[in-house]
């Protein structure tokens, strides 16, 4: 498993320095509400200067985890450590954080300028310094000229920017975002995602974002943490998680996939629905005869006419439905599983395949990823946590 700090972009001076100190470290966090365990033994290492997304369905504990980091909630067990300092017992107002809330939580009795300057005034900053910093932030989030507006006079996107500026005012060590764009319409959301990501990279600020939107997570993150039922399913750079999902949940939540259940044979082979599959995955369970699940992305597999049937990695089936969208198509092939196999491709490659045709679904070895039913060992822990 690759260490988090070795992800896509080369580490900056700041992040490599922080790797020695530790950045933000979560150690065995547990949070229970009555009989429900919202956060179940979560340990994570969050490198300085990166944007990390907590991705999962509602109720997976991602917001609770963020609140534990912010100090708005206290864990039943475990520690929150920032740059080597244990913050577990530190209340929110003594932590060096900036947070954007789902409701944005702008103060309705204060105007834009006073909202953004709130944190600075609390810290008894000089009046002219507050004014300068607020002007700087207004420019940063493209809100020049709106300083004296009331919050109620702003559009959704503008409120969003005020909330971001307010959270950044004190130059916090941690920037926390709780589903920051859920209140915006789709177009605005997409453009703000890009803008916020660029802003985060410009400021080189350690950021944790909670989201249930896989597109948002893929667009913005350096690292995605997939959460399910209070547990970490997988940690890794977005493409790494997308291409090499470790669990059934990761594979299905981040993008769509086909799950093929079968039995491991000796060597790098498996038998799926009576067909021989050659695999080249290094993470194969060693035991022959064990049950395994393969994940194959719809865009990574091919349709072939039935007369091209060859020895391995091919499942015969009948086309159940074709959704041709002009540029791309989706073909649902009945291959004898509970669910049809979905094949995606460019419309121009579809040919004259239609409903009821006998076809062969070709699943090349490099498209097959063995996925586990649940997260097992500590394989997802970054190397630096062990050392």
């Amino acid at each position: 498993m690759t260490a988090l700090t070795e992800s896509a972009s080369p580490p900056t001076a700041a992040s490599s320095r922080a790797a020695e100190v530790g950045g933000l470290r979560l150690e065995g966090l547990v949070r229970r509400f009555g009989s429900i365990t919202a956060v179940d033994d979560v340990s994570l290492e969050i490198p300085t200067g990166k944007l990390v997304s907590f991705l999962g369905p509602s109720g997976c504990g991602k917001t609770t985890l963020l609140r534990l980091i912010a100090g708005l909630d206290t864990p039943n067990r475990g520690r929150v450590v920032l740059d080597g300092e244990d913050l577990t017992a530190t209340p929110a107002h003594d932590r060096d954080i900036g947070m954007v809330f789902q409701s944005l939580a702008l103060f309705p009795h204060l105007n834009v300028r006073r909202n953004i300057g709130y944190g600075l005034r609390i810290r008894k900053t000089q009046k002219d310094q507050v004014a300068n910093r607020v002007d700087e932030l207004l420019q940063l989030v493209d809100l020049d000229g709106l300083a004296d507006r009331q919050v109620s006079q702003l559009s959704g996107g503008q409120r969003q920017r005020v909330a971001i500026a307010r959270a950044l005012a004190r130059n916090p060590a941690l920037f926390l975002l709780d589903e920051p764009m859920s209140a915006l319409d789709a177009n605005l959301r997409e453009s703000l995602q890009v803008e916020l990501r660029l802003l985060q990279q410009k400021l080189d600020i350690t950021t944790i974002m909670v989201t249930h939107d896989q597109r948002e997570a893929m667009t913005m993150s350096d690292v995605i943490v997939v959460l399910n039922e209070g547990r970490v399913e997988q940690v890794g750079p977005p493409l790494e998680v997308y291409r090499n999902p470790k669990t059934v949940f990761s594979a299905t939540f981040l993008g769509s996939t086909n799950l093929l259940r079968g039995r491991k044979l000796s060597g790098p082979n498996a038998r799926i629905n009576g067909c021989l599959f050659e695999l080249d995955d290094a993470g194969l369970p060693p035991v022959g005869g064990a049950e395994i699940t393969l994940s194959a992305r719809p865009a990574d597999i091919m349709l072939e006419r039935s007369d091209t049937a060859a020895a391995s990695n091919r499942l015969p089936g009948t086309v159940g439905f074709v959704r041709d969208l002009g540029a791309t198509f989706e073909c649902f092939v009945e291959c004898g599983f509970d669910e049809p196999i979905v094949v995606q491709g460019m419309s121009r490659d579809l040919g004259d395949i239609g409903r009821g045709d006998e076809v062969v679904v070709h699943v090349p070895p490099e498209s097959c990823v063995v996925v586990a039913d649940s997260p097992t060992a500590s394989w997802w822990l970054p190397d630096q946590a062990a050392s």
Binding site: A70, G71, L72, P91, A92, H93, D94, R95, I97, G98, M99, F101, Q102, S103, A105, L106, F107, P108, H109, L110, Y118, G119, I122, R123, R166, A167, A169, R170, L176
Partner: protein, 311 residues
Amino acid sequence: MTALQEGPTAVLLPEPYADEPSLVDDTPETTSLPWRSRFMLAVPTLMLVVFFLGPFALMLRTSFYRRIQGGFYEPDWVLDSWQRLGTDFYTDRVLFSIQVCLVTAALTLAVAFPFTWFLTRMRARFQVPLLIMILAALTLSEVIVAFAWDLILGRSSGITNILVWMGVMAEPQSFTPGYLAVTIGLAYIAFPYCVLTLYPSLSRIDDELVEASQTLGASPWRTFWSIVVPLSKRDLIAGFLLVFVFTLGSYIIAQVLGRPEHWTLSVFISDQATFNSNIPYAAAMAMLLTVTSLAIVGITSWLGRDKVAAT
């Protein structure tokens, strides 16, 4: 011919402006209310006249009646009652009443506001029993409350005995009758009303506002003062006025828990009306009390509205 030429030019307004007159024309209802709305307005107006202005006028008229020594009164237009009110003694009483009620209102709000804030932040299963207890306190009559506080603050069986037992005090002490006892008694009576006035708006303050303030570095105490209090300014004023007006009309508490120098104007009104049978004089005092409290309500809400608009 000229008229014909003017016609089209009036129509050929630039596009954005062409729409505007029609928008205004679409709302003729603003000038004349439909009969249904008029009827809806008439009901409260009628009730206000029958139940408030009517009695008020009667009382005003009564205050000019002539009192017959040792008994009743007869219709007349004399200024006896009003002249008696003009003496220093009653100016002093009016000022004292206002002062007691202002102090009580401030005291009640100082306790009720934080109490209600914490109440609204509790989970429902703790909130409901507490609210029921507060409502239950409303069923106590003022007389019972007055005598209960008389016992609690008294020497023989009061709380000072506990303090003596604990070794805090040398010997039991009596706070009643006294100024402190009057304000405590009045505050006790007014407390549930104040809580119920504040509850709806305080419970609507979003938790995330409080949390946002904390993540920006404000302690809970600081958050309370810079977020919760400013957001409830209107309700604080409403609660303050409610307690003020409510206690201004209360007379049993002051009579039982205070010495004559702690009596409010209400006590003198009831005294004149029931013991001295001087109804015209009681009416004149009641007029004075009503006008004074209306003036204070008016001034406070005017000041309050000004402040809210300024922020």
